[in-house]
């Protein structure tokens, strides 16, 4: 089975470009040119060079011994938290800023939830000397203060989104409106595998470096390229898309995405889209989303700003529907426990988002001879206030 996007921009029945006419010229330009640009020799050289010398790739694949002992199995952590700016988001922003430059754009806009994508965008804009505007829900501006300050220090303008639940969905709406109003000089760096085609595919390709490295690193350390399973957290789904990418066709590798259940999937405060959602169109692609019978998008909730989103990328909707990947969930409380567990067993403070992936270790059966790779998508610096409040240190 083919799990990649088809020539019309769909993953099975999901994807496409449900865009207003005002966005057509920009999206068409991108659709026509993105593959040629990112597959060109010059682009590859520059992209790979920056990932190595600026981002610090390859990120380590680390056998977490004490964690493995506790769960009586072999658990590897893919250390995306060690990338420059502290998460996997920089892989995509490096790629897209090079695309934007190639297209002659001078103004960059982005949405952000936890601020990791905003920070990664502000960083590459500083690197390339381009104007940067980041839309961020007002609630997230308040709960992710360090990232907001970093973005401003990097020269980006952070504009709070005041509509809806004032989180990631609303920031994305504002970024789209900005692009509609600035159709000529602006490139929109979408931070996840969401949005109209070709964004989900383009972002997945830039993030696919994660699973490309996992394969050779695992081979180097264990003599096998394929783990038993790969686990990653899912909001829009970019780190999971990157961690799954080169294993999609390796049907014997189990793929597990972990959604944010917030206070629980049976409460009204959750962001577990695949568990609670139905098919529909949000942010210009057909996917699965949390909505009412009337087709109004539901306001999500999660302790993690990066996963607090009522939709999911079309690639994941297809992997879910075809049962190629399994999607579990973790509640706020389970996530906080998992974050503390990793911190005290391995000396690594994970981002709240990444702690969702760790939390399902308690929910699945691990066997002693199995190899599990968890994508540790980001570090916990930005979440210290939440952690300190909860644990009372």
């Amino acid at each position: 089975m083919n799990y990649q996007v088809n020539e019309k921009g769909y993953y099975g029945e999901f994807g496409g470009a449900y865009i207003p006419e005002m966005m057509v010229p920009n999206i068409e330009e991108l659709r026509r040119t993105y593959l040629e640009i990112i597959q060109s020799y010059d682009f590859r050289q520059e992209f790979i060079g920056l990932l190595k010398n600026y981002v610090g790739r390859p990120s380590p694949l680390y056998l977490a011994k004490r964690l493995s002992e506790k769960y009586q199995s072999n658990i590897f952590l893919k250390r995306e938290d060690l990338n420059h700016t502290g998460s996997h988001k920089i892989n995509n922003t490096i790629g897209q800023i090079l695309v934007a430059k190639k297209l002659g754009k001078t103004r960059i806009i982005a949405e952000t939830g936890a601020g990791q994508h905003g920070l990664a965008t502000a960083t590459v804009c500083a690197l390339m000397g381009l104007e940067c505007i980041v839309y961020m829900g007002e609630v997230d501006v308040e709960r992710q203060v360090p990232n907001v300050k970093k973005m401003r220090m990097l020269g980006a303008k952070v504009i709070p989104a005041l509509s809806g639940s004032k989180t990631l969905k609303d920031a994305t709406n504002e970024a789209m409106r900005d692009w509609i109003n600035n159709p000529v000089d602006t490139h929109y760096i979408i931070g996840s595998v969401v949005g109209p085609h070709p964004y989900p595919d383009m972002v997945a390709r830039f993030q696919s470096v994660i699973s490309e490295e996992i394969r050779w690193q695992l081979d180097e350390q264990t003599g096998r390229e394929n783990p038993t399973r790969v686990i990653a957290c899912v909001g829009g789904g970019s780190n999971a898309a990157g961690a799954f990418y080169h294993f999609l066709d390796q049907e014997n590798v189990e793929l597990i995405g972990v959604e944010a259940a917030g206070k629980g999937v049976d409460t009204n405060e959750s962001a577990a889209t695949l568990t609670l959602g139905t098919p529909g169109v949000l942010h210009s692609s057909r996917s699965i989303l949390m909505q009412t019978d009337d087709g109004q998008v539901t306001e999500p909730y999660s302790i993690s700003a990066g996963l607090d989103y009522p939709g999911i990328g079309p690639m994941h909707a297809n992997l879910f529907t075809t049962h190629r990947a399994k999607y579990l969930w973790a509640t706020d409380a389970e996530v906080l426990d998992a974050a503390l567990e990793l911190t005290q067993l391995e000396g690594i403070i994970p981002a709240l988002e990444s702690a969702h992936a760790l939390a399902v270790l308690k929910k699945i059966q691990l066997k002693p001879d199995e190899v599990t790779v968890i994508n540790l998508s980001g570090r916990g610096d930005k979440d210290m206030e939440t952690y300190l409040k909860y644990f009372g240190y």
């Binding site: 470009a17 865009i19 005002m22 010229p25 509609i180 109003n181 159709p183 009337d294 998008v297």
Partner: protein, 260 residues
Amino acid sequence: MNNRINKLFQEKKEQILSVYFTAGYPNLEDTVPMIQELVKNGVDLIEIGMPFSDPVADGPVIQHSSLIALQNGMSIRKLFDQLKDIRQTVDIPLILMGYINPVLQYGVAAFCQKCKEIGIDGLIIPDLPMDVFEEEFKKVFEANGLHNIFLITPQTSEERLRKIDAVSTGFIYMVSSNSTTGAKTSVSELQNEYFERVNSFGLKNPRLIGFGISNAETFANACQYSSGAIIGSAFVKALEGSDPLHQKVSGFINSIVTVS
């Protein structure tokens, strides 16, 4: 297909005034009285907005009216219920305007069927792309006598414009500038050049100009370059305040056109 929209453009070649409002705003039950007041004040065409939680093509005014309408309890089902007898009192063309997701949830076929029963003449769904419309929606729209109205912008290429003209059956919605609704309140020389350029193509469909039409001056300017114009945000904005609905409507419409 030949319905009230085609008839309007056959009978009236200029100065067509089309007005948009959000159903259920300012009050849930304002929908029908609003339509009746607009008709009484000589409006030629009405676009009834179906509120959506995430209106990405709209500026702050229609975002706000949509939010209030939804909080008031507006839904597609409620709207259809309010409109069920509208054709007993109203003869002018009626268009429903909204985003694709609520239509998908209602079910496209059921939605179009209901539109036909009520006497809706056309739909404007900004996030329904032309290729998806042709493949999945065109047949069922046509079977129910519904025109799909496409938007064009100053950035729309000539090739695409001609394609849109070929697919269109009612009229073309000429967006005055690449923007969200209500973002601009004037129309520049540059935009007039774009209107003239489009006029020189000899398209088969008539055009109405929308976005940035907010007063008598911008309406008159738009009418020089097209069959008429569409007013949305400026009208919705005029609905604020505590005056009775009929006063707010007549006050606004009279500020745009002198009733002849």
